[in-house]
Symmetry: D2
Subunit: 99 residues, 4 copies
């Protein structure tokens, strides 16, 4: 993720764009998550559409969610590789203890 | 809320519509919440639009969220008046203790 | 809902509590919705628990979501009965056309 | 992200864990997003706490959200690097046209 974080930060700096405030980014995360939810209901839910039509859209929404999180991470000095690593280790360690 | 719950239940029964599954209703809640989030960013966030343009939409999104919750409540035997009353009492009692 | 809206508004006024900002209320909505989502996965999802244990909690989370929306409505002059009525009429009219 | 996706997939395969269903993963996403929202209100909202106390937690929640998305991506054959790349390009291209 480091590559993506640096690349995005360079764009924002080069263009003089400020990051949004934390609450504004959070609202965007909710919005993007909601669009993802709509697609899950389209593909797997009561309003089924053809799978191929929305597969591309699902990829896009997930990309948008992660993009939003990169913005938050960049504007709050969070290293996403550290964050992902810790979350993955948590699952492995928690489940390793079960057996 | 009792009136709304009964009215909706009558429609669904009269038309032979089944309620969606809990997970499907939850996905819809996320979707409607996300549309509400988009509007909050439009009115109060970085992409400001004219207030009048979206006021009507905000009312609609909030209505859609509550409609979704009525569907969930009806299909899971939840009395929304009880639910609201308890949540309101919780706030009053919690904050009454502060002073 | 008028009764709930007025009652809540009276408390806030009597106690001199300000409503939160729209973005702050939205964040709370996301939080309460997320707690509701957790319960749906508990009752119907991969981490099944006993139904009775969480039924009470589900009612509480739905109440909290609607409470949060009442706060938003009160601080933005939205009439929730109008909002619910319009959302319900939309569904009835849309689906009436299908048949 | 390829590294994380493959690593997680290996764990699940090695341990014979199935991925959750799309709706179950979505509910988890909503839950994790809601916990993130709670922290944003803690750090920047009406219930301010000391920044240092929650900084660690914010990193953890963002990690959990991305972990959840990796699960979804793995179980639906989505390449997250492609997804992120497209979302980033979309922003750059859209904003490049503005100037």
């Amino acid at each position: 993720m480091e590559k993506y974080q640096k690349e995005l930060d360079k764009w924002f700096k080069d263009n003089g764009w400020p990051y949004w405030s934390p609450h504004e980014i959070l609202a965007r995360l909710f919005e993007e998550g909601g669009e993802f939810a709509r697609l899950v209901n389209h593909v797997y839910g009561p309003k089924k559409k053809k799978l191929e039509e929305v597969e591309q859209d699902v990829e896009e929404e997930i990309g948008d969610i992660i993009y939003t999180l990169i913005c938050y991470a960049n504007s709050n000095n969070i290293n996403l590789d550290d964050a992902i690593r810790k979350s993955m280790d948590k699952v492995v360690n928690r489940d390793a203890k079960r057996f």
